[in-house]
């Protein structure tokens, strides 16, 4: 299962700081919500159900955006290595 690196700091404003690289990123509120869920070890199924219940989005679109988001997290080395 995908894991967000433990030392990644996520503030309430959606500001993400990677203390290893010194890079920082900004997330919108939904991105922050998803990142928190993933960081807490929730599966794609759980995250998908949570988002679909809360927001107006269809499952297929969400899945596409979710994996796109995850690959961005991987690209910036915010996840634990596979």
């Amino acid at each position: 299962m995908l894991k967000i690196r433990k030392n990644i700091a996520i503030s309430d404003s959606g500001f993400v700081f990677d203390p290893l690289s010194g890079e920082s990123f900004s997330l919108n509120p939904i991105g922050m919500e998803i990142l928190h869920l993933v960081k807490n070890g929730q599966s794609f199924e759980y995250v998908s159900k949570h988002i679909l219940n809360k927001y107006e989005v269809d499952a297929e679109t969400f899945e596409r955006y979710f994996y796109d988001f995850i690959s961005t997290l991987k690209l910036f080395n915010l996840t634990e290595p596979d």
């Binding site: 030392n7 700091a9 700081f17 203390p19 290893l20 690289s21 010194g22």
Partner: protein, 346 residues
């Protein structure tokens, strides 16, 4: 508070700054030291000479290239007036002269805390491959060259781009032979020979500032990544990092070499998270005040080590501490400039 008179150089707080002013800021922040700061300037327009809140008195000194004796003669004069307790040279180019004069200075009553000649020599850019082998540290392949023809002989060992480096300062990336020749000439005109051709390692440059006690212990170490780099390759902004592997590497180098004094490690972190050591600067760098702000007052610790005190290693530092350099128009009067230019004192 301990009253001391501290002499130091590197007052050129310009776009490519010397470490003098940030070192002074660290000393001024100290709650242990009550220091009178005596600046040593090479040029009349070194801004530090006019920063009277930081520098109490400034003396012009001869360039290291003028030889040891003229410098010592000038220092004798300054010492007679100021009774300097500790001297901190902040330029690579003057270190050799000061290390050679360490005993004479000690006899005069001036303490320093410098690397040994051997430590200084073996970490030279031109000796880095041997250094890497000796201490088990990954370094990029490099060759010192004295002429463009020298490089032609070593051409097969390199792939473009390569990094062309000066003996003390300056580094350029050359993508072909024409650029290499141009940078070779540019660097030799300024810094002389040899010029070092180094393999280009792709990755992110990260740095560590550290202080060794000369017995193999790391007194302090703070890793940083430059977040804003000037066209001269100097940090205009930086952030402290949490990277235990950088600290481990620093500890390894300091313990193996028994490093004495301040140092800066310049590293490339590759995409595989491996480090390649591209340079060791044998002094505290100009971004030293970031370490002070992050909780490690390395200038204060260096002064205390020079005074022969037992200094305990720092435990930790603030992660995510940021520095942003800025420029500021210092206003002074003609008579101040005149004092320094004609009498060599201000």
């Amino acid at each position: 508070m301990q009253k001391l008179t501290i002499g130091l150089s590197g007052l050129n707080n310009i776009d490519s700054p010397g470490p003098g002013i940030p070192v002074i800021r660290g000393i001024r922040d100290s709650k242990i030291l009550d220091a009178r700061i005596v600046g040593l300037a090479y040029e009349n327009l070194e801004p530090g000479a006019y920063m009277h809140k930081l520098v109490d008195k400034t003396y012009k000194v001869p360039y290291p290239s003028d030889g040891v004796e003229p410098l010592l003669e000038r220092l004798r004069y300054i010492h007679e007036k100021e009774h300097i307790d500790v001297l901190i040279p902040n330029f690579d180019s003057e270190l050799f002269t000061y290390m050679k004069s360490e005993k004479t200075l000690e006899e005069m009553g001036i303490k320093t805390f410098l690397p040994t000649l051997n430590q200084f020599e073996e970490r030279h850019k031109s000796n880095l491959p041997e250094y890497g082998k000796k201490y088990g540290v990954k370094v990029p392949y490099s060759e010192p060259i004295a002429s463009f023809r020298d490089f032609v002989q070593h051409r097969d060992k390199f792939e473009f781009p390569v990094v062309v480096k000066g003996k003390f300062y300056d580094a350029y990336i050359a993508f072909d032979m024409d650029q290499l020749a141009m940078f070779f000439n540019k660097i030799t005109a300024k810094w002389g020979l040899p010029v070092v051709i180094q393999e280009f390692v792709k990755g992110t440059e990260v740095n560590v500032i550290a202080l060794g006690d000369g017995k193999g212990n790391t007194i302090g170490a703070v890793p940083m990544r430059k977040t804003y780099i000037t066209d001269k390759g100097k940090a205009w902004g930086g952030i402290t990092l949490e990277d235990p592997s950088m600290i481990e590497l620093t500890d390894k180098i300091i313990s193996q070499t028994q490093w004495r004094g301040g140092m800066e490690l310049e590293l490339i972190r590759t995409t595989n998270n491996e480090f390649s050591l591209i340079e060791i600067n044998p002094r505290l760098p100009a971004w030293v005040y970031l370490a002070v702000a992050a909780g490690q007052n390395l200038p204060e610790a260096l002064v205390r080590l020079a005074m022969g005190e037992d200094v305990q290693p720092f435990k930790g530092y603030d992660i995510g501490k940021i520095f942003i350099r800025y420029s500021y128009d210092l206003i002074t009067d003609l008579h101040e400039f005149e004092q320094l230019a004609t009498k060599g004192e201000l």
